[in-house]
Symmetry: C2
Subunit: 789 residues, 2 copies
């Protein structure tokens, strides 16, 4: 496809009406940016009618309004379920205006009525203290994409249509946004779409030529390159180019008709003839001036069709000529023809909106929490690893989890509301059991020797953490459930996306009509302590530091020490809502500590004394040995065993932490222990040797309000590492049993003298270790074969 031909599907009356709707949307957009009062300009515009701070983005807005209107035509004519995603979410004035015009806004926000009074509220509240934010935030009806941080519109859109066969997402992608990495790769999402059981995404490239202060790449390459690029991505672009509104309405109508007909044809072939071969999906390239219909110049400087139109085209209204220009601009849309004397939209214009739930702003998928159904979760006890006595058996925690996830998948397969995602790491992370009941989604060439690839698979693997994350967010926001696994170090790739999602959850929670959605669940594995094929670049446990900066209500961090605790934790996460849950667990064979009953009891508390490893019962401990994380737990127990041997009189209490936030004060986190409980566990004055999975300072940050905080001595990752043996990693970072013992000897008052021989024996062990691994390339047998006893 290329330029739309010169067909004219719209009558002159249609065009006139379409212009009116567009004028109304544009008018209200500008009014939101500029006006504090006098929203219909029934009085002559005065400075005091304008806002003291002019905030907002006009540049993308007329384009969004134009598209919204044309999508509404399709919905009306074809009775489609369409969601509108505004990649440039800063075009919220437009999105809000459109949803107001179709009435939804007043339904959600009853004070913003369909009259002059409501209009006054509408325009004042925008970007105003106590009002609404300037982006397509959770407050915006119909939005699932805030769009403040650019780049995620397309992956969100694909996430939304997976398993929603009747849904079409019209996804407007900014041409600036297209330059971001996440967006640039997300075009390939079409290779993961099943035209039969999934819906469709109609990407619309908003080629307005500019970003904040620069032209965009896509606007400045040749048309051949542009088309070639999108064909290479697997799309069939329909170009709609121009700036004359009447002509453009006709062109856009043709383009929309063509695009939706193509989608229908593809879906029909898939659904009626079972032809799910990946087609070239349609897309629209809309090339229009940035800030379309604003003044051509301001102060003699090019504005319409230039980057100067990006935000507020006319500023400093204390200049009379500016105020006048604004007045002329506003009047150019003829508000008096758009709203009746009550300030209500003229009925013939209002009739352009679809009805009820068909309005994009009222589409139930945009408030996914309403559609969310709980998952059917198999009883975790049936997947339990048998633990005859603590530390006796070995188990691969994530593989055990995999078998449970397989059955979660199986139980919910018919509901098609659960997906498992990973950036090409599902097998590596040992969750491959899920492939027993479903496949990897794949709609590209296949060969007979391929492994579990199928068009309708429910395991999603693309080597893009961003795309996995974006898909999952889109899937969750439309009311479904998911589970993502990732190498611990590389989850930082999506730090910023997680921020945005956590912010979305926090804000949505404050919006009365938004229902809770399923949590964003991560399993981080291939973690810092177990790298095998990789080294230093794969070692970073800092994602938990990152998420803890978000609202306490939203985030949880779990460090299950073995398979059964991992099972319990995973279940908790899949049952929870409106959270970001981070589970960190290793994939290698490791000692199993708790049988299922103990695991359930331990995870329910989130933290607890391991009585079978402690010897201080009935008295006070000399030292508390605390641990969080699988490897730190093993090293702690090994240290305890050494201490029992060398210093049998030492009273030791062992505490294991699964729910990291129990450490924080109750006033700071809902999971935080009450101070008296914390004090009773950790004492108020005894040394605490804490073996921690992550960066040590994080523990200090969590406990700074606790009575005993100064006696915590935390061992964790010190940013030392390479490709080496597992135990050597702990030694390099002083997390190993030997360094833990040394620190106990150092910190327990009066122990140093008594323990000089023990200390020396331990120091010798460290030398022995270093020599051994350098010679043999593996850990000493006493380390490899160590068992708790």
């Amino acid at each position: 496809m290329s330029e739309t031909a010169s067909a004219t599907p719209l009558s002159a009356a249609d065009v006139a009406l379409f212009n009116k709707w567009w004028h109304a949307a544009n008018y209200l957009s500008i009014a939101q940016i500029y006006l504090l009062a006098n929203p219909l300009l029934r009085e002559p515009l005065k400075l005091e009618h304008t806002k003291p701070r002019l905030l907002g983005h006009w540049g993308t807005t007329p384009g969004l309004n134009f598209l919204y209107l044309h999508l509404n035509r399709i919905i009306r004519e074809q009775d489609r379920s369409i969601l509108f995603v505004a990649g440039p979410g800063h075009g919220a004035p437009g999105v809000v205006a459109s949803t107001y015009l179709e009435g939804t806004y007043s339904e959600y926000f009853p004070a913003v009525t369909q009259d002059a009074d409501g209009l006054a509220r509408l325009v004042k509240q925008f970007s105003f203290p106590g009002g609404i934010p300037s982006h397509a935030a959770p407050t915006t009806p119909g939005s699932i994409n805030e769009g403040g941080e650019l780049g995620y519109s397309l992956s969100h859109s694909y996430g939304a249509v997976f398993d929603n066969p009747d849904l079409i997402v019209a996804c407007v992608v900014g041409d600036g946004e297209s330059e971001t990495g996440p967006l640039a790769t997300s075009w390939h999402s079409n290779k993961f779409l099943d035209p039969k059981t999934d819906g469709a995404v109609l990407p619309i490239l908003h080629l307005n030529g500019y970003k904040i202060a620069n032209p965009t790449i896509l606007a400045r390459i040749s048309p051949e390159e542009l088309l070639s690029l999108f064909r290479g991505y697997g799309y069939d672009p329909i170009v709609v180019e121009g700036d004359d509104p009447d002509t453009m309405h006709q062109k856009m109508a043709v383009a929309m008709d063509t695009a939706f007909a193509a989608i229908s044809k593809i879906q029909k072939a898939a659904r009626e003839n079972n032809d799910t071969t990946r087609p070239m999906w349609p897309m629209i390239i809309m090339r229009t001036p940035k800030g379309w219909t604003c003044p051509k110049t301001v102060d003699g400087l090019r504005t319409e069709g230039y980057w100067r139109a990006h935000q507020v085209p006319i500023t400093d209204l204390t200049k009379p000529e500016h105020l006048k220009l604004l007045d002329t601009w506003l009047h150019s849309y003829k508000p008096e023809e758009l709203f009746d004397e009550n300030g209500t939209l003229m009925p013939e214009i209002a009739a352009l909106a679809p009805k009820g739930d068909r309005r994009m702003s009222a589409n139930p998928h945009a408030n996914g929490g309403l559609l969310r159904r709980d998952l059917r979760l198999p009883d975790v006890t049936e997947y339990a690893v048998a633990v005859s006595s603590p530390g006796h058996e070995l188990g691969e925690a994530t593989r055990v989890l995999g078998s449970w996830l397989r059955d979660v998948m199986k139980e919910n397969l018919s509901s098609r509301n659960f997906r498992v995602l990973a950036p090409d790491e599902n097998n590596s992370n040992r969750l491959n059991a899920v492939l027993d009941v479903t496949n990897r989604a794949w709609n590209a060439e296949t060969f007979d020797y391929d492994d579990h690839l199928a068009v309708n698979g429910h395991v999603m693997e693309i080597l893009s953490e961003h795309t996995c994350q974006g898909w999952l967010e889109g899937y969750l926001l439309t009311g479904r459930h998911g589970f993502m696994s990732c190498y611990e170090a590389f989850i930082h790739i999506v730090d910023s996306m997680v921020n945005q999602h956590a912010k979305w959850i926090k804000q949505a929670d404050e919006v009365s009509w938004r229902a809770p959605i399923a949590s964003l669940n991560y399993l981080l594995t291939s973690h810092v302590w177990r790298q095998d094929h990789n080294g230093f670049s794969h070692q970073d446990p800092g994602f938990i530091d990152h998420v803890l900066n978000k609202k306490a209500k939203t985030v949880r961090v779990y460090l299950p020490p073995d398979a059964n605790t991992l099972l319990c934790t995973a279940k908790t996460c899949l049952e929870s809502r409106d959270r970001v849950n981070v589970i960190v667990a290793g994939k290698q064979p490791e000692p199993q500590w708790l049988d299922m009953d103990s695991a359930i009891a331990h995870c329910a508390k989130g933290i607890g004394i391991w009585e079978w490893a402690s010897n201080d019962k009935g008295g006070e401990p000399d030292v508390v040995m605390a641990c969080a994380g699988d490897v730190p737990t093993m090293e702690t127990l090994a240290a305890v065993q050494l201490l029992n041997k060398h210093l049998p009189d030492l009273k030791i209490r062992v505490i294991n932490v699964v729910d990291l936030l129990t450490l924080e004060s109750k006033s700071q986190h809902p999971d935080g222990l009450e101070d008296y409980v914390f004090d009773s566990l950790f004492t108020t004055d005894k040394p605490v040797i804490f073996a921690f999975h992550g960066y040590p300072a994080l523990i200090h940050k969590l406990i700074y309000k606790r009575t005993n905080c100064r006696n915590f001595h935390v061992h964790g990752y010190r940013e030392e590492g390479s490709t080496t043996t597992p135990f050597d990693m702990t030694v390099r970072n002083h997390l190993d049993r030997f360094h833990l013992v040394q620190n106990v000897i150092r910190r327990v008052p009066g122990l140093a003298n008594k323990a000089a021989y023990a200390n020396q024996a331990i120091a010798d062990k460290l030398v022995e270790h270093t020599r051994y691994v350098a010679q043999y390339g593996k850990d000493m047998p006493e380390i490899e074969n160590w068992r708790w006893s």
Copy 2:
């Protein structure tokens, strides 16, 4: 272009020799993965010759080796300066083998000699404790891309060739790597390249069909789509496809000849005829089997040409048939024909390597620190903002910095070794003065109304934080300097890249032959407290938390409170080496506190008492008011003023922190204050009300070892925000002057009773504020016009 024709530029003898080199490189790669001893198989292979832990990645390696060899031919024949970037850096066994074959490895690591003994060391050390890591790390000669975290090879490569007209980077991009967002957008870097004053990148897509456990997208779309995609990106692809080595040598030779001829032609047109129009740059698509030349099957399972070849194709060598298969595989390369009896590479094979610095592993650009020349930095005092008395004048800190940066640019323009980067935010961040002396780099269509776009500009703007970051890293690693500005919240987009770069710096520092490089310098602005057009999504001060997890030696965080301190700080950063420097400063008009002399003195210490704002001199303070960051500083001073008014007897000490790491203990960070200095500043027992730019817990994390830590009460960002007024942002997060005063009243022993009236006056102010902003949409005049006095 498409498939290479059937030309045969190589003689039969060439082909035979090429195969030998390739065999030698492949052989040594496998030997590194598998062998502990017996590197030349002069004894029959036994289990004890093999490593107990088999670590490494074979899959990508034969392809890398093949390309390395063919690039060497070009260098020998055309005397080119070429750098080799291995996108799949996990192919380090291959890169290391190739550099060993060309002798460089032994020059850098004298123990690894060119004989049997050296070979034994070479093979043993790989992925071995105390040896070398498994990726193309700083220990790898010729590497500027670790490649552990995939996605940055191409942006690194472009960064390396900017301003290096004679350099060509041959950048091997994994087909899996291509799926990452950062890689997918970095193809567009060609729109920022000047064929005249920059070098060239030859991208080579390593289309081996698979990633860890999945096929790759690019291998499973039609050839038309594949070519279309890369033409759309602006490249002219040359396809080299097959698996028969002899034929493939001919094809690759043709492809290389074609590609380098195309590069020469483009550069000639630009350099001799001044034709710098963006050409279609050549690229090579190499489609070969993954794990090429390894066993076709292992245990009956498809291995060569499949994802099973990704890491170690044959494992568990205790199975005799596995050991045998390995033996056969190793012998298939005929080591006896490759190395003489001393274990030295046969001279006719060795002759295939280029000489001296022309060896890619010895190319000086890969050890950029050696080429780095200090910048000429204008005297900051000449750019100073006049400050008649503290807080009297307003200034826009980043704009002032912009004028200094302009002259840094000017002074170094002839050296072409300084670039300023931003993701379409250079103007928004108010650094536009640099455009007075240079332009934005832009090699795509332009119009006469464009603003400072030029092919050879030194300001780099693409709407991709990832690409900016990757370019800058490549530029720094090859010995140049740079400065990147970014919205504070969105710098999280590159969290993971920063991790990797910081890790590179740390490791490179431990490699004796790597010279220090210029620091990675960030200005973070449009920060959390000043959002204007944006809202909650743009509010996240957590990047400083993120970088502080990296090695203390490497990271610095500066929070200059005004323009003059910003100037001093920026100078320090541009002079430093081997660091990640983060400066956070606002771009809005704000009070200026320090004249240049005071600023220099203050920044040199990094922290200090502001005497003019304190009233405790000669005695003990009742309270310490500390602040870090521009907005917190202003709020603190406003609070002090209120306290002086309401509670004139209160003794207040004001401390400002510019260098955040002064707060940390000396034992933890080189900039940390000695405890006695810290205690003297902050006292050992007085309440400290700390107004902090970022998340409050960060301060607690930094000071947990300090005597007075329990008396620190930190105000900072609480993850509350929206599009609202500047002062309202501080109120919502309790960072404002009123909340600070309230906390002083609460925390100073005995003050509460005395200050009840003051307290109530303050509470009333907060109510008044909230009502005012909701009505007028701007801050109260007493806030807007507040001045220190």
